[in-house]
Point group: C2
Chain length 333, copies 2
C-alpha cells in the first residue's frame, strides 16, 4: 500500500476543529492526547457536562449558539467553583445528516467562546450516531490549592445572594414552545429577544470567579432552578435557608411576564438554565463583595438568609407566607 | 415549600455511581466539580473518547463489559502516551428504557476497572436521550514534565514493534456479525471465546506505560487498525515504515482463521479495536525494552523498520511483495 486516505473523521477534525486547538499542548489535534503543565500551587477543577438535541436544545437552534452553550454550561460551573479555565475536551456524536451547514457555524461559535473565555480546545473525539446530536464537554480549570469553593460551607447567618437575573432562560424556553405566549404576556420585541438570547446563550460569571474564594462560604451555579439548587447547597452545608420571592432579581422582561401572569413566579424560581451563581456570603463581607463584583460589571442581589437546619428551603411571598411548588427543581430525567 | 424530592438523576447517581467515586476530590459526586492536586513536576495528559451503542458496541453486549470497554479505550491512550492514570469524568446519555438491569452491571464493570487501573471516577453528568446509549469518558493521567510520548519522534532506523497480538478484536467482531464464521474457520470453543473477549474487553497496556518514555521514540495505541495507525504515526514523524505481514504477532485463534481463509490478513492488519501499542524503538534499545516489558508480562514483537520518507507505509508479504488493501484504516465515520 502506498498511501492511506484520511478518514472522513480526520478531515472533519482538520477542517472545523484544528483551527480551535491553538494551545501548544493540543498538538494540533494530531496526537492521541493533549498535555498541559498545570499552574504551580493549584488544584485542577474538573467538570463534564453534556447537551443533547431534543433535550437541552432544539435541533433547529442556531448551531453557533449551540456551540457556545455547550462550552458555557461548563464554564459556568468552573466560575462557581472559583476556578480559572485552562481548556476543554470535546466529544461529539453526530447523526449522518450533519455536515458543513451545521458544523461550520457550530465550530465558529465554540471557537469564539474558547477565545473569549481563554479556554482552548485541547482534544476530543468525533463519531457518527444513530441518535440526536450529543455534545459532551469536559472542562478543566485551576484554583489555588485547597481553595475550590464548595456547595458545603454555608453557615447560619450567611446571606443568600445571586448574580444577574433569575428566570429569563426558562421564560425564553416557554415562549419558544408556546408561540402565543409573547403576545399574551404583552412582551415587546426587545424583551422577547432578551428572553430568547438568555435561553440560547448562557452568561458564565467568570468575571467574579476569583472573588468567590475571597468572599463566599459556599457557591454553585444555578442550572436546575434557583429553589432546587439552593436546596442542594443547603443539604451539602447542613443548613436551611429562607428567601423572599420579591427580592429575587428579575429582568425587565421577566417583570412584564409576572405582571400579566403572577403564577409564572413558579417557573422563574424553579426553571432551569439560569447559569447564574448562587452564593452564601458572611454578612460582614457582603458590601465589599457587592462593590468588587459591580466593578467587574456583575450585579449581586441579596435574596435571603441561611439559618440552622438540615437542608430545607422556604420561599416567602410578600406577605411572609410560604410558597409551595409543584416541581421545585428542574430535571431532564 | 418544606422539602424538594431528589430528582431521578440524583437517585441514579447516588445508587450506581457514588460508590465508585472514592477519591476525596470527587466529593462523593455531591458538588458541581471535582478537584485534584496534580502530582508535582508532572504534565497532565488529557484524553476523551466516547462509545455509542450500535456504533462501538452492540446494544445487547453485556453491560459489565460495556462499562469496562468505555474506560479501557481511554486507558489504552494514556498508556501509549506513557501516562499514569489519575481519574476520569463520565458523561452518560441513556434512552428511557435503560434502568437497573443495565445500569447495575454497567456500573459494576466500570467500578471494577476504576479500581484495577487505579483510575477513580471523579465526576460527570447523566441525561436521558432519544438516541442510543452514549458513553463519553474524559480520562486524565500524569507524566513527568515534557515527557509525554508523541506520535511524532520516530526516526529512520527505529524498529516498529507492537505489544500483544493483532487482529483478534476485529475477528471477534466478524464472528459476531457472521454467525457461520466460527464453523467455517474451524475455531474451537476456547478460540471463539478468546476472539469474543478481545472484542468486548480491551487490555490497556498500562504495565509498560512507564517504559515507553525510556525506550520509545514515538508511540500510539492501535484503535483504528495497525496499518492505518502506523501511517498516522509515520506522518506525524515525517518518516516511512516497512512492515512484514508474517512478523505481525497473532493469537492461536487468529492463526487458525488465517489458515482457513488467508484473505483475512486484511481484516487483521486494518481492522479496529486492537488497543495494543504501536511503538518506534531505536535499534540499540530494543533488547532491553523487550526484556523489561516481558518482566511486566507484556510481549513485544518487532514487525518492521522505520525509514526515511514522508508518511508512507508498505506492508510486505512473505515473498517481499507489497500488499494492497481496500480500506487501510477503520473509521466509524
Amino acid at each position: 500500500m502506498k498511501r492511506t486516505l484520511q478518514s472522513a473523521e480526520d478531515l472533519l477534525i482538520a477542517r472545523y476543529f484544528r483551527p480551535l486547538a491553538r494551545h501548544a499542548g493540543a498538538f494540533g489535534l494530531e496526537d492521541d492526547a493533549a498535555a498541559i503543565e498545570p499552574p504551580a500551587g493549584c488544584d485542577l477543577v474538573l467538570k463534564a457536562d453534556g447537551i443533547i438535541a431534543g433535550v437541552h436544545f432544539f435541533p433547529d437552534d442556531p448551531p453557533e449558539t449551540v456551540g457556545k452553550k455547550a462550552l458555557r454550561v461548563n464554564l459556568s460551573d468552573l466560575a462557581a467553583k472559583s476556578a480559572k479555565p485552562l481548556g476543554f475536551l470535546l466529544t461529539l456524536a453526530l447523526p449522518g445528516e450533519i455536515g458543513e451547514a451545521w458544523l461550520s457555524p457550530f465550530a465558529r461559535g465554540l471557537g469564539a467562546d474558547a477565545e473569549l473565555f481563554e479556554c482552548p480546545l485541547l482534544g476530543g473525539d468525533t463519531d457518527r450516531t444513530g441518535g440526536p446530536i450529543t455534545i459532551s464537554i469536559a472542562a478543566f480549570g485551576a484554583v489555588p490549592h485547597g481553595r475550590m469553593v464548595r456547595r458545603a460551607g454555608a453557615r447560619p447567618g450567611d446571606r443568600v445572594v445571586v448574580t444577574g437575573t433569575i428566570g429569563d432562560a426558562t421564560l425564553g424556553l416557554l415562549q419558544r414552545v408556546d408561540r402565543d405566549a409573547p403576545a399574551r404576556w404583552l412582551l415587546e420585541t426587545h424583551q422577547q429577544e432578551h428572553l430568547r438570547s438568555r435561553y440560547l446563550v448562557p452568561q458564565p460569571r467568570t468575571a467574579v470567579a476569583e472573588l468567590l474564594r475571597q468572599y463566599a462560604s459556599a457557591a454553585m451555579d444555578i442550572s436546575d432552578g434557583l429553589v432546587g439548587d439552593l436546596t442542594k447547597l443547603c443539604r451539602a452545608s447542613g443548613v436551611d435557608a429562607v428567601i423572599e420571592a420579591q427580592r429575587v432579581p428579575l429582568s425587565d422582561a421577566a417583570r412584564t411576564v409576572l405582571g400579566r401572569d403572577p403564577s409564572r413566579i413558579e417557573a422563574i424560581l424553579t426553571g432551569g438554565d439560569d447559569y447564574e451563581i448562587l452564593i452564601a456570603v458572611p454578612p460582614g463581607e457582603l458590601d465589599v463583595f457587592r462593590r468588587e463584583a459591580a466593578r467587574r460589571e456583575v450585579a449581586i442581589t441579596e435574596i435571603g438568609t441561611v439559618c440552622a437546619g438540615e437542608g430545607e428551603v422556604r420561599v416567602l411571598d410578600k406577605n411572609g407566607a410560604a410558597l409551595a411548588f409543584a416541581r421545585p427543581s428542574f430535571s431532564h430525567f
